[in-house]
């Protein structure tokens, strides 16, 4: 396409660049704006008098002497103990990713190596489960969890998120394992390995690219979840997203919106870093399902 682009008339090229710039502003400006505004006081970030205050920080300077202040972050992280939610989030994400990858690689490998008809039906079932909105399942969890006294703690949420993650993980890893030639582990079996040994010694060393891509999406699912974590975690065990939602309830009345703004920026930062390092894997993961149909 580069060759056609070179021959494009000037007006079309300007229109193209204009459109890309427009989209970039649309995509990135809200984040930059909120990041910048999170270091201001509320009167600047939500300015009735003059919107340029949000850029210059006139009221921030009047209150703190400088145009930037970490007051929002201090309030969120220390006063409201947002650090607890951050730790909880990383505990949940870590265990969800590890467990769902372990379960998913075993299951996905088995599905890709078995040629019986039931593998198809298992995959179809997984597809149906993948389409279920998680929130529709939550009312089914609550009664048993209350009954067994396991509601509100992190392990329960981790297991539930792992299970919700499985259908997607299975599909991703299934199609990934199908691209690894069957001859590899079959020759290992001829040499006397059991199926599990063949998996461990031959497949495990070459599966990491697919596993990392799948792991990224498992991480995102656990990190971004709101429906499950907000319904299944008690107040003291909340992760970041339900904690931010809880901030809104209290802060709108107390006039501490800037706490929520700082918390939102804090929750976005890890995702920013993630995209920076794993852009290639994310793109390939998104397109994997599509291009194969």
């Amino acid at each position: 396409m580069a060759s056609t682009a070179l021959r494009a008339p000037r007006s079309l090229r300007i229109a193209t660049y204009g459109f890309v710039v427009f989209w970039l502003i649309l995509a990135a400006f809200p984040f930059l704006w909120t990041l910048w505004g999170s270091f201001k006081v509320e009167l600047d970030f939500f300015s009735i008098a003059d919107w340029t205050n949000a850029i210059t920080g006139a009221n921030t300077e009047r209150t703190y002497g400088t145009a930037f202040t970490g007051a929002g972050y201090e309030g969120a992280w220390i006063e409201e103990e947002f650090w607890r939610a951050v730790i909880n989030t990383f505990i949940v994400c870590f265990f969800v990713v590890i467990t769902s990858l372990t379960f998913g690689t075993l299951g996905g490998y088995a599905l890709s190596r078995s040629s019986f008809r039931y593998t198809f039906w298992l995959l179809i079932t997984a597809l149906i489960f993948r389409a279920m909105p998680p929130i529709t399942l939550v009312s089914g969890y609550l009664l048993p969890f209350f009954e067994w006294n396991v509601w509100g703690i992190l392990p329960t949420t981790i297991i539930v998120l792992v299970a919700i993650n499985q259908p997607f993980t299975l599909w991703m890893l299934h199609s990934f394992f199908q691209n690894i030639p069957k001859e590899l582990d079959e020759s290992a079996k001829v040499d006397g390995c059991t199926q599990f040994q063949a998996f461990r010694l031959v497949i495990v060393p070459v599966m990491w690219p697919g596993v990392i891509t799948t792991g990224l999406f498992s991480f995102l699912l656990a990190y971004n979840d709101f429906a499950v974590t907000s319904m299944l975690l008690s107040e003291s065990n909340r992760t970041m997203v339900p904690e931010i939602a809880a901030f809104l309830g209290t802060t709108y009345t107390e006039g501490n919106v800037m706490f929520a703004v700082a918390a939102v920026v804090s929750a976005t930062a890890p995702l920013f870093v993630l995209v920076m390092f794993f852009q290639r894997q994310i793109v390939s993961g998104l397109t994997a399902g599509a291009v194969k149909g």
Binding site: F31, S139, G140, L274
Partner: protein, 341 residues
């Protein structure tokens, strides 16, 4: 692979899905046909030296015994589905009889929580999906014409709206369109009305939610279409150019047909994902103007009185809705499978 080996490999993931997806679905369906027990009332006659009076009191012991005996509650069949909070059959019939035009009938329907939520959910699903496909396609075509090093940067920033936590993303936009935020200020300056507030107006709130939906999902369409553009048949384009096809004709007759399978894929996935719209309504604090099925479920379950039966009934109806949207995907997968064997 032998059945036995397959079983052990598949056991952990199968068990997880069975216990935490399949079993809850059964449990949700059961809950939706059972209502909590009403307290057992008994009439006690208390006599004082002067007169006797009858009092109705809750018999705690009997109530507890009944709850323990049948923990699911009392069987009510489809009553919960038909009550005012859900399908509201009686109210709909009443509205049908008492109104004389379709407009009036639909406005009566809009007052019932389920139909109100359904109205927004369907509007959202069927406006956001086509819009995001068009926007994604435009971005893909534009980015494809850029030089190599620019592409990386543009893709990086394009991924952000999609990767960001939906609740966080909607909050970020919501703070900007607040009437004291930068976009809200800008809008009231454009309209020339200093009191313009998105929060106070239902149509503006719907537009804001739809804008969020497109903003959030367009990157997905963009990435998929961009990958598809990399496999564009170069020779067909050249042939079309020789035949004197204009740039627009090349896009219309070669690029779009080439991407058509991907458009179907994105449309099917996004219809299902948009149907479960939930976080933006919480983030935008929009419940007064727009509700969705997922939001109703969440609202029933949260708070002190967890109305699990009501939530379960809405859940079952949401699952049915998703199943309808999912059926074309299943048919497609089935055909692929048939084609392979």
């Amino acid at each position: 692979m032998k059945h036995r080996t397959f079983f052990w490999f598949f056991l952990p993931t199968g068990l997880a899905m069975l216990l935490f997806i399949a079993a809850p679905i059964v449990s949700v369906v059961l809950q939706s046909v059972f209502a909590p027990h009403e307290a057992v009332l008994e009439t006690v006659e208390t006599c004082t030296p002067f007169r006797c009076s009858e009092e109705t009191a809750i018999n705690q012991e009997a109530t507890r015994a009944l709850r323990e005996e049948r923990p699911l509650g009392r069987f009510v069949g489809l009553d919960i589905y038909l009550d005012r909070g859900h399908l509201a059959v009686a109210e709909v019939a009443e509205a049908w009889r008492s109104t004389d035009s379709f407009g009036a009938f639909f406005s009566e329907l809009g007052d019932l929580p389920f139909y109100r939520a359904m109205g927004f959910t369907l509007t959202y699903t069927f406006t956001v999906t086509p819009l995001l496909i068009v926007l994604g396609l435009m971005i893909a075509l534009a980015v494809n014409a850029l030089t190599q090093w620019l592409k990386g940067i543009v893709i990086f920033f394009s991924l952000l709206p999609m990767i960001v936590t939906p609740l966080v993303g909607s909050l970020i936009l919501f703070w900007m369109i607040d009437n004291r935020g930068v976009l809200g200020n800008f809008l009231s300056w454009v309209v020339g009305d200093p009191d313009l507030s998105v929060k106070a107006s239902t149509p503006l709130m719907w537009i804001a939610l739809i804008v969020y939906g497109v903003w959030h999902a367009a990157p997905f369409a963009f990435v998929v279409f961009y990958a598809g553009l990399q496999t564009l048949p170069e020779d067909q384009i050249e042939a079309a150019q020789i035949d004197g096809a204009s740039r627009w004709q090349q896009v219309r007759y070669i690029v779009v047909p080439h991407l058509m399978p991907l458009v179907t894929f994105v449309a099917l996935i996004q219809l299902m994902d948009n149907f479960r719209v939930f976080e933006p309504i919480v983030g935008f604090n929009a419940a007064a103007h727009a509700t969705s099925l997922s939001w109703i479920i969440f609202n029933d379950m949260s708070g002190e009185t967890r109305q699990l039966s009501a939530a379960a009934a809405t859940s079952v109806m949401t699952i049915i809705g998703v199943a309808i949207l999912l059926s074309p995907v299943l048919v497609r997968t089935w055909r692929d499978f048939k084609g392979k064997t």
